[in-house]
Symmetry: C2
Amino acid sequence: MESVGTQGSAAGEPGTYAHDVLAVVLRITGVVPSVLLWQRAREPHAGRWSLPGGRLGADEDVEASVRRHLAEKVDLAEVAHVEQLGVYSDPHRGPAPRRVATAFLGLVPTDADPAVPGDTAWHRVDALPTTAFDHGAITRDGVDRLRAKLSYTNIGFALAPAEFTVSELRDLYAAALGHRVSATNLQRVLTRRGVLVPTGETAAPGPAGGRPAAVFRFSEHVLRVTDPFAALRPPGEPG
Amino acid sequence: MESVGTQGSAAGEPGTYAHDVLAVVLRITGVVPSVLLWQRAREPHAGRWSLPGGRLGADEDVEASVRRHLAEKVDLAEVAHVEQLGVYSDPHRGPAPRRVATAFLGLVPTDADPAVPGDTAWHRVDALPTTAFDHGAITRDGVDRLRAKLSYTNIGFALAPAEFTVSELRDLYAAALGHRVSATNLQRVLTRRGVLVPTGETAAPGPAGGRPAAVFRFSEHVLRVTDPFAALRPPGEPG
DNA sequence: ACTGGTTTTCGCCTCGTGGTCGAAAACGTG
DNA sequence: CACGTTTTCGACCACGAGGCGAAAACCAGT
């Protein structure tokens, strides 16, 4: 009873499709996140800005593939975190021949300012240019994912520099989340969850003076869920 | 600079791959969830149990495709919820030719007992048979997803019958989560979030007597996140 | 009827978490 | 040394959730 596609892709066997990988690479720049885009040289959509990526190769899974393609646009060592976003497979998401894409979210810390090729640039997510295909919607999905994970994981490690003050981290979170964040609360929440540890050092005050700020760093640099979500935990376990 | 796969798939154009869709269809049976599996008739892996699914067709996106294939194994009207799980693309996840798969999670309420074809059956997830390809791991991912969403969404609507008592719902949650659940707490949490509403009726007591239980139903039958995750909300908004 | 067993329901308590506010600490400058 | 600035910390409050036990509402026997 296995039915197969009757028309198939344009150039290959019926039921096979070109598979792309894409990455929404975000970096906090000033007061909003920015996404890494490059300007397509060829048709279709020549001249339009699009997400970095390319074809899935024969001997790699999608994550290896997106890392390979990403390495052509940024220094991979500066991408602190990569995770799968989802599959985009609308038959009309682009001109024929049909392409199926697996999208990823990548995060770059603010202290890394990767050199990028001439066709590539960072674009503020609140002022995206016209993008190729559905890359604008995918970018929005990536930003949403980041915002959600900021509140229940330690994903901030992938956005923050190696060492930072609470005020700097507050500005980072505020930019990523799109609303004001209380430094008091941020520090308490993150330290209680054990993701923030003080280095013992203090940073020099700004030009206007003020109490010198304590320097912190993230305790781990791998993603971990820190908020065992609120409800319906197993009995007898601490919140 | 666009590099393409040099070997390509076995039968098609270089850089194109057969794309499958799969579904982890879960249903709470007794004290544990069960997953819908069917026994492969053909090679590769003939005789092995595998997840329902099939090839992505030419004029459908992955979600439409998985619904189409699912309709061959169960009555689609009884699948109360479908969501994307992720992409499985390890080049060696099965014998050549290579296949890329998008997996979905599907949920069937306990009061629907769909008739299934002769090659298809429900299997307890705590005693899975040897499965084809990586379908065992995908099933575990599906169960994990369900467990996570039970605590911060109203996804129970897709597992529960149309009407039920709190005790029945408690058993359902306990089976899905794999640990005991307090009926008191479950009712309070779900009613406070507005996902549980009383019908006003009461159910007949069991053979051993006891106070008749109030009958409830889910207020909505579409997925909604009910727990605005704990930390770092915008200022001035209610918890 | 009354008693005992059973199941459900509800109220009360505690605890942990997060939001808010204001005071105190620690710096610069005039 | 007073003043502005920035950071830090403690106090307070609200709320959500887990735990527990009493009360409610039923059945079966005596």
